[in-house]
Amino acid sequence: MSKIPEKDITLYHSILAKELLQYTSVPEQDLQAFVSCFEFHEYKKKDIIIAPGNTDAFKIFFILKGITRIYYVLEDKEITVSFKMENNVVYNGFTIFSGVPNIDNHEALEDLQVLAANIDNLEPLLYKSHPLEHLARKIVEKNYSSFIRSNYNRMFLPAEERYDYFMREMSSIVNRIPLKYVASYLGITPETLSRLRAKH
């Protein structure tokens, strides 16, 4: 863990607090208790911040700066599942929600600055505060909906529509992602991706 000035950690906690308040209002005291569980960490490009298996199974990350790529390995090939960027929350949903060992790699595509907390430290706060429990429920529901939505898109939308959707959702970071990962995410070859990009 990096030792950083008190005023910086306060700033980072307030960035996280601001992001959480977008879901629902939470009393200041409860919100402070929640964000205070998060510690500052730095990672270098190519670091794996969550690995397959149960390593760091119960950590939750909030990205301050940088992008991550989530991928799993199937028959020696890397399949890219999604990308996370500034103000996104990253966690190992497999183990946290279903108890199975994690299959994903969360890789830093750039040098990363994050806030990280242990789920075990956050749970007691949810017990004590109804507004925090409400916040947690809203966050889980949103993530569940996103998961179902991205499964739906992958199953039903043709590559060109998925490309449009991706360009809209990820417009702010698409220049920072190597195209081969975008192709993998869309389930198309790099050549097909080039053709799609040439049309737009």
């Binding site: 949903g93 497999f94 279903s98 299959i103 949810l126 409400h134 569940y144 998961f147 939505r149």
Partner: protein, 200 residues
């Protein structure tokens, strides 16, 4: 003479109580009871389409007796996504949470008795009782976990391993569900399923 449907209500309420307490053991019983009393009971004939694709009825269901098949259509074929038996809870959750069109069809494979509650009523208990909001968070986490687990199984287990897992976890369904639905649920053809079953 057939028993009146209402006479089944107490035993299904007890099963619902047990199901919800398993999800969230420390829920105060009086609060849980208030929520359970909001469920009504209804019976349905075999093959009834409870909810077709394209429709959202904002209802949460608990199976007192019977069998539900949840499927979607792709390229003109029906793909069975879930098979649920007694003491399961289900709802068009993605559609309720996101407001998007429901793309699943909910069909009853047997004569069934279902407990049901309007989602608006269910959700009102989240703000009323902290413990019920916690129950709600845990419930959606369980759904999310089940979806993730299914994704992992389909990706990483062989057809035979998926069949063995199905037999282990859903023994009773083998006799109740037509084989073509089981094959679809496992993501294999009926021929492959027959081949695998011949070995056992």
């Amino acid at each position: 003479m057939a028993k009146r449907i209402d006479s089944y209500l107490p035993v299904y309420q007890q099963h619902l109580r047990e199901y919800l307490l398993k999800i969230s053991p420390n829920t105060p019983l009086n609060e849980l009871e208030e929520l359970i009393q909001c469920f009504t009971i209804e019976k349905y004939a075999k093959n009834t389409i409870l909810l077709p694709a394209g429709v959202n009825n904002n209802t949460v269901y608990f199976i007192g007796k019977g069998l539900v098949r949840i499927f979607y259509e792709k390229d003109g074929k029906e793909i069975t996504n879930w098979l649920l038996e007694e003491n399961s809870m289900f709802a068009p959750t993605y559609s309720i949470l996101s407001g998007d069109t429901n793309y699943f069809t909910y069909q009853l494979l047997e004569n069934s008795h279902l407990l049901k509650i309007d989602y608006a009523v269910w959700e009102s208990y989240y703000s009323k009782y902290h413990a019920i909001e916690r129950l709600g968070r845990r419930l959606i986490s369980v759904y999310y976990g089940a979806c993730m687990r299914k994704t992992v199984d389909v990706l990483f287990l062989s057809a035979e391993e998926r069949y063995q897992l199905f037999v282990k976890e859903h023994q009773s369904l083998l006799n109740r569900v037509p084989l073509r639905h089981i094959a679809s649920y496992l993501g294999i053809t009926q021929e492959t399923l027959s081949r695998i079953r011949a070995k056992y």
